[in-house]
Amino acid sequence: MTRSLQRIWPIATNTVREAIRHRLLYTLLFFAVTMIGVAVLIASLSYVEGERIIQDIGLASIRLFSVGIAIFVGIGLIHGEVDRRTIYTILAKPVTRAEFLLGKFVGLLLTVWLQLLLMGLAFVGVSLLVGAPLDLGYAAALFLVGIELMVIVAVATLFSSFSTPMLSAFFTLGIYALGHLSRNLYFLGQEADVENVRRAATFLYRVLPDLETFNVSIQAVHGLPIPATEVGWAVLYGLAYTTALLSLAIYIFHRRDLE
């Protein structure tokens, strides 16, 4: 176990290092600065509840940007290993394929979390600048975005374990979109008269991630209470879903020919 960690950890830190040295974080800083500019502009234009609008936009763009980065960077980093054949030398060392994939996953997750942290800081900065209220609700919202990112990175890892980069990105985006709709699809499905449609809707809801679990931005922006049990439940759900995805990814990757 500890030996395994000794191999997973260098792969993970190396992945973070690759991302950092790839000018990725600079794009992100650019985004943060832009966000601050736009926010100040909007605040000066609007009369009613300007701060709320800014925070709404802020949280929404953090979610979108971080997911976009998780998907495109994540998929690139895993496929790069196979395409550029760096994986050959790694797997010839006493590293199992499971350890390799877990190392990549952890590295990607740390990278997107690092970015989330930077964006969160930018968010706090803008809020302070325009004098918008900050409370624990925002911390909870950003924390849950982090958990959602964990699930998304696991989805990207799963598709990368067998598919091409293009298809992986496409599928992961699809799962992301469906994941946010799955709850509505479920309720819509239960309204149907046909038994099989109801069954299908239930099945889909069970298989697809319910990403709305991780979305508490509305409560945060409107200062509504976010119960700790809700957050705790979301974390458990995220961990379980991620574990299932990674197990499947490892199973598939283990059987694959690396040509």
């Binding site: 290092r17 030398t89 797997l91 010839a92 006493p94 590293v95 690396l258």
Partner: protein, 327 residues
Amino acid sequence: MTDSPPEIVRVDDLVKDFRPGLGLRSKRVLHGVSFAVREGEIFGFVGPNGAGKTTTLKVLMGLIRPTSGRASILGCDVGEAGFRQHIGFLPENPYFYPFLTGREILRFYARLCGVESSLLAERVNDLLALVRLEHASDARLSTYSKGMLQRVGIAQALIHDPEVAFLDEPMSGLDPIGRKDIRDIILRLKAAGKTVFMNTHILSDVEMICDRVAIIVNGRIRYEGPIREFLREDELRSDIVLARLPSETSTELGERFSATLQTVGETIEVQVREGQVQGFLEAALGAGAEILSVTPNRVSLEHIFLEAVEEGERADARADRGGEGTS
């Protein structure tokens, strides 16, 4: 030969089919490959481009699964991971994280191999020295030349002092000095009692350092054995260069001495077996030819290699016809 050293690598009847894509017919790349590598030898796995050398090595490294057949290293099936602590691997045209420096990448591989942190720095320095990269150790790999990357590849393969080294075309991309350096490293490994398996089609390297070879052509082994015996088969030949040989005599001489006469500009070149040189020269002079030079030559591996390839192709053609007959 009961006293021959133990087998380090054992490959039995390996078959590999590649499926190019969904629905396309699969292509057989290895047709029952078998050979063994013994402890302490430098084993040359030799064959023309596309023969299946890299594919075999990928099976040995557990990167791809054989369609059928077995391969084991140090007594472990290649599907397991346990023996990897004791082997090093240099892939064909190795590529490494360009954003790391030479030193960083070696530290990375050393950590993957579980080299203790107290020994890490020393081990990395030793290998940088071995492959002569100290001067570039703190530059990013993106600035390295092809030959320098090849040296990084050798260094990472040996970072954990493995018992067996698997090298896919270790000399490729290297200048003559680089090739000599790598040859010296390989010979040093042998002197330290290690076993080396190397893929190559550079025959002079094989002649210089390999103890035993297997020749693979179109996914089939054509020869396996000590390189000395292989070279002894018809050891001495002479290269004869002549001019003004009438073409009908040329054909006749070719048949009589079972040699191939090659026209090079105004001159004709031919290789003749040692005992037949006298007879060939007399016949050529008798036909009015002019002898430009006679150079005694030990038959090159290249010649035998080409013969093995041609023989292999003929055998494949026969097999194909036979296959059609039965189906």
